[in-house]
Symmetry: C3
Subunit: 359 residues, 3 copies
Amino acid sequence: MGDRGGSFTLGQIAQALGAVLEGDARRVITGVAPLDAAGPDQISFLTTRKYLRLARSSRAGALLVPADVTELPGPLLKTSSLQTALIALLRLFYPEAPLSPGVHSSALVAPDSRIHPEAFVGAFAVIEPRAVVGARARIFPLTYVGEGAEIGEGSTLYPRVVVREGVRIGRRVIVHSGAVLGADGFGFAFDGSRHQKIPQVGGVVIEDDVEIGANTTIDRATLGDTVVRRGTKIDNLVQIGHNVEIGEHSIIAAQAGVSGSSRLGRGVVLGGQAGIGDHVTIGDGAMLGAQSGVTQDVPAGEKLFGTWGRPMMQARRIWLAEAQLPDLVRTLRAVERRLERLEARLGIAPAGEGQGDDA
Amino acid sequence: MGDRGGSFTLGQIAQALGAVLEGDARRVITGVAPLDAAGPDQISFLTTRKYLRLARSSRAGALLVPADVTELPGPLLKTSSLQTALIALLRLFYPEAPLSPGVHSSALVAPDSRIHPEAFVGAFAVIEPRAVVGARARIFPLTYVGEGAEIGEGSTLYPRVVVREGVRIGRRVIVHSGAVLGADGFGFAFDGSRHQKIPQVGGVVIEDDVEIGANTTIDRATLGDTVVRRGTKIDNLVQIGHNVEIGEHSIIAAQAGVSGSSRLGRGVVLGGQAGIGDHVTIGDGAMLGAQSGVTQDVPAGEKLFGTWGRPMMQARRIWLAEAQLPDLVRTLRAVERRLERLEARLGIAPAGEGQGDDA
Amino acid sequence: MGDRGGSFTLGQIAQALGAVLEGDARRVITGVAPLDAAGPDQISFLTTRKYLRLARSSRAGALLVPADVTELPGPLLKTSSLQTALIALLRLFYPEAPLSPGVHSSALVAPDSRIHPEAFVGAFAVIEPRAVVGARARIFPLTYVGEGAEIGEGSTLYPRVVVREGVRIGRRVIVHSGAVLGADGFGFAFDGSRHQKIPQVGGVVIEDDVEIGANTTIDRATLGDTVVRRGTKIDNLVQIGHNVEIGEHSIIAAQAGVSGSSRLGRGVVLGGQAGIGDHVTIGDGAMLGAQSGVTQDVPAGEKLFGTWGRPMMQARRIWLAEAQLPDLVRTLRAVERRLERLEARLGIAPAGEGQGDDA
């Protein structure tokens, strides 16, 4: 997390954030904290009006708030873009550790790999032949970069990542510890007595600005490439099968899984533990709720929920109706008995015949 | 597993376990085995009366049994606390490998880290600057301990664990291989065109006597700490999101996931593959069944099941009623036809009007 | 992936595959590609007649097709066993990298381990005392092989696998990066105030020709062994609990989980994210759909789906009927009102009495 000892005046902070200060510019702030934990030397922030009451009772020395908030006393930093200002605030107090370029003496770097002189390679990292590591890339300790793999400029592989042979990673990509990129896809042909392995000879392409969570696995393609497009963010323990393509700026929450050859559009959102069957196409901007599953194509913009995913509102209505289902069964039996009594009174033949009328 | 070659007399075993022996104290036992696999040189155990029949036919040379079991022939070791005695029995025959303190010559230990002289640090382990490793802690090979991280007395990090910078681990904690503690939380702000990363500058605190399974991931907080309290046991492949707090003595089964900022009370039990949404509070002693999901707060002591978790008994009744659902649809249609016939006979206006009466 | 620069004539390819060539045997092919991506120098393949139209419009220089396909122009390679021929084709153009036997100078190999002279041990690998590595086995960099563990002939441990002490791995087994074999099973005994750890002193046995996916975890047994039998294929991020036994030639898809002491038969198929409770027996050839769960025994050959798994067809029918459930509730209420009206007209006592008739 780098240094946490920074302290700044409210004037300096306002300037760094491009925010308008209402308060004493010389007041010194030594850290950032949530509303309920911040003390008089710390700055806090209001991300939603829902927390206005909490903000009012906060002991924070200053508050970063949306420009239209007026109900609060004390020093305020007002901004028209709270999230962006908050990011700048966190980066101000918690700057990223400066890059120390160079290859650690214990790292094993193949002579015919190409490591940019401004790149960092940590202890016990392994860089195999013909791999390429770009400028300002950081390969943390105990990470493996396979033969011919490419790590783009400014990308970070945290400790103990595996990038298998031939995998191509773009610029400013972040890969968290334990992730495995380019293991074999799960492909077998049953020959009547055993599962024969289908060689998985394709690759993996991770485009710029993607983030990949801890212990996530992205398999190499059988042929061609498994692709994660620009700006997509993938959480921890996610499984991406072989030949999958995930569109730009999508969000894949933890423990979700995408089976082989499925294609997700741009801006798709998968909730935690969601699952996509194989050869499924998910349209742009579609959202799947947590724990939902789909085995059929999903149109753009659709919001689905549940196993064999349904539209969210329908899923909710069914869930509510289900609570009445056991009573429903009983009520329906009572209704049938009442009908029989009425039919008997009117001398109408029993139900079987009535059904027969339609057949 | 240490040495498995130990052999003990029944007298020695009784003494070690604080059990009462009924049988020949000089009989020699060379190992422990389940009821159906044990031979005459081995001791077995009866954890529940359900297995009495199996115990009767066992070839085991002796049996460890609850004090009130009388129906069995042959040498018995009787105890009022079977589980505790069984643990002692296993530890007797399978003692933990003795600790060999010291830092392996291939480990990379930063000069300004503090490794207790009674700690063990294995081959190719990396201990970054200002990290602290307590007495009798064991850092197995290929494990990474980040800058300023703390590993408490008697804790074990198995091979290939990642503890990122600043993470604090208490005493007697066990972390299994592949676990990642302190990767970034999954936090982004969409600015209309791309997901901006929200710096994750908080930490992770693991209290005393916690166990963390293989390939489990526990993310660092955005601000503040992600906390796992004393005595909680977490299985493999579990995801714990940023700013989550898990109370004391809880049990989290494999592949469960807890989303950001949720708080679990004391003694909570999550079944395998269960999922908790973000910002959810789970009361003390609540239990969630396997594969269940909740996005709303759960009161203390509640037992829930299913996606959008329901009380266990209700979930079970709905599940049983669902089996009749397809028939229900057909029956209800038949009922409507019968009603129409009755209404026609009596000259009553059709259903539409009847419904209108209530509107 | 080895060399991709190979080029072969159609005659050579036909011979290597045992296929019948219809076309010019001297035509040169430089690679393999899917139907829609292949160019005139590449060969493609038709795995199912579903893609006949795509095959007709393909620009591929030749097509590998089933023997009974006649509708296609251009050079054809005909085979009676397409999958096997396809595997041979991929292996021809993408041969596995040749094994380079020997122990890397940076690997840490215990003096009393036994590494076959034809085995490969990569950089920063750790082989603990008394471990055995067979002929032509490949231990990739950063992998850990614990004390007394055995790796059979021709097996591959990709970078950063953990094989804990005493685990036995058969021949031609493939273990992908990040997998952890032999971590402690999840076993605790609650003593009223805390969870006491039950020592996990058993082992793990992986039989011949098994494949284990990236970041998958297979726990050691409490006593005895956790067993994965011959020819079974396990995908990524799968959890196999302690004392589980999985029969021969089974398929376990990604993110599935099997709880402690469950036994799966031969040829069982678990879909992605499926979950099996503890102490459950699954019969030979049973199939569980994706995201399904079972806590009861499953007979051989059964196909189940959904949480508390149901037969696949029943699950589907319920799912379809559920869509009508909210309407059903409303319809049933309307039916009750109509009944009341009829009963009133006929001077029949209200429903309560009718139900009483049965009681």
